[in-house]
């Protein structure tokens, strides 16, 4: 069993135009920098990208928007990106906006093998249009479906050769659920260690979900809003 790849471009060898991708991260926090660069280089287009945000103009998914590789974004918040706005208003880009908790949970349900569930988020709003509405214990809920992807691209702090992943601080965000929801999950890590080096009590994503892993390089980890205490 070999899950270890040399680098990002070898790990995405079979991502073709038209694919549906999940990309981990929240804002620019914990995004798969190496994999995004490789996708830009490879040039696969007409992609459907599921990601909480769309990056900024010159970093993260913003890089893929610039090259017009993205056909559709499925996100909860996309307000940080001017190129995004331009393409959206021009009709070059489709967008599906989903409440953040619903988005996270739909992804999680794919990893849990649960096809549908009920959530209160969006009841009585335009998000509820066309959805099954149902009352449980006197409260109204919408039925939502699990969200799957052809490929999930995530970035973890540490990983081992069997694909076990550990995240650092707030970078777990959408990446844990996405890692479990991809038909093929590709993980880049800051440090790749031999199997057995990570304490099995501390693993955030067991290797069973991770099909390919490689040690990334040159992490920029750009900060969106640098706020400091005076």
């Amino acid at each position: 069993m070999n899950k270890v790849f040399k680098d990002a471009s070898s790990a995405i060898f079979d991502i073709e135009s038209g694919a549906t991708l999940m990309l981990g991260g929240f804002g620019l926090n914990g995004i798969p920098e190496n994999l995004i660069s490789a996708l830009v280089q490879k040039g696969a287009s007409q992609l459907t990208c599921i990601s909480n945000n769309a990056g900024v103009d010159d970093f993260g998914i913003g890089l893929m928007l610039k090259t017009k590789q993205v056909k559709k974004m499925i996100s909860s918040y996309v307000g940080e990106n001017k190129e995004f706005e331009r393409q959206l208003l021009n009709g070059e880009l489709e967008v599906d906006l989903i409440p953040q908790g619903t988005l996270a949970t739909r992804i999680a349900m794919a990893g849990l093998g649960i096809p549908a569930f009920y959530t209160p988020a969006g009841y009585g709003t335009e998000v509820a249009e066309g959805k099954e509405i149902r009352e449980f214990n006197g409260k109204m809920y919408l039925m939502e479906h699990a969200l799957h992807a052809d490929f999930s691209l995530v970035k973890a702090w540490k990983g081992d050769t069997l694909g076990n992943l550990v995240f650092r601080k707030s970078t777990r965000n959408f990446s844990v659920a996405m890692a479990k929801a991809g038909n093929i999950t590709i993980a880049e890590v800051e440090e790749l260690v031999p199997a057995g080096e990570i304490d099995p009590d501390d693993i955030h994503v067991p290797g069973i979900y991770v099909h390919r892993i490689f040690q990334g390089k040159d992490y920029e980890k750009r900060i969106e809003k640098r706020t400091v205490q005076l």
């Binding site: 926090n29 996309v78 209160p120 707030s170």
Partner: protein, 218 residues
Amino acid sequence: MALDKYGIAKRIAKELQDGYYVNLGIGIPTLVSNYVPEGMTIMLQSENGMLGMGPYPKEADIDADLINAGKETVTILPGGAFFDSVESFGMIRAGKINLTVLGAMEVAQNGDIASWKIPGKMVKGMGGAMDLVASAKNIIVAMQHTNREGESKLLPQCNLPLTGVGCVTKIVTDLGVFEVKDNAFHLLERAPGVSIEEIQSKTAGKLFVPDFVPEMEA
């Protein structure tokens, strides 16, 4: 004198109770954390996956792996915990958050809230707001009483696309504190020096004014 944004935040901080788990939205709500009474333990939740959010870091302590839901660099307090977005919204939906404070563009007298979209202008997305308002038991809206055009934001019904229905329990504006119940805004307190007449003139929705309306402590 009407409250400034710090005054609004300070007033909302009086709603805190020891041991509360609190979610503060971006903007004025974030400022509430500056007015936590001494000796009170409040755990702030940031919906990108953290409990026990602390103040902004010192320059030397900035960590790109640690941001809040507003994408700002922050710190974590002792006893805090990291988790993922699924768990984060799980605790929100399961009602584990004792108090949610968020901004709004409009609030209706039945508790409806609009805060995420202005048709025809750019749509940025609802982020976590729809999950928060659909789930929280105790929602305070922090906002200016009127919009930039001077129009009331406390309305008979919302004109903008809704974020959630019948969910707002209290509103703190620059002019006063309002409880939302029985299809009306109930005036609880006036901002220092603000008259009931001013509040009445700037509230488009049904306003209930009791015989005695205390002035807010300064």
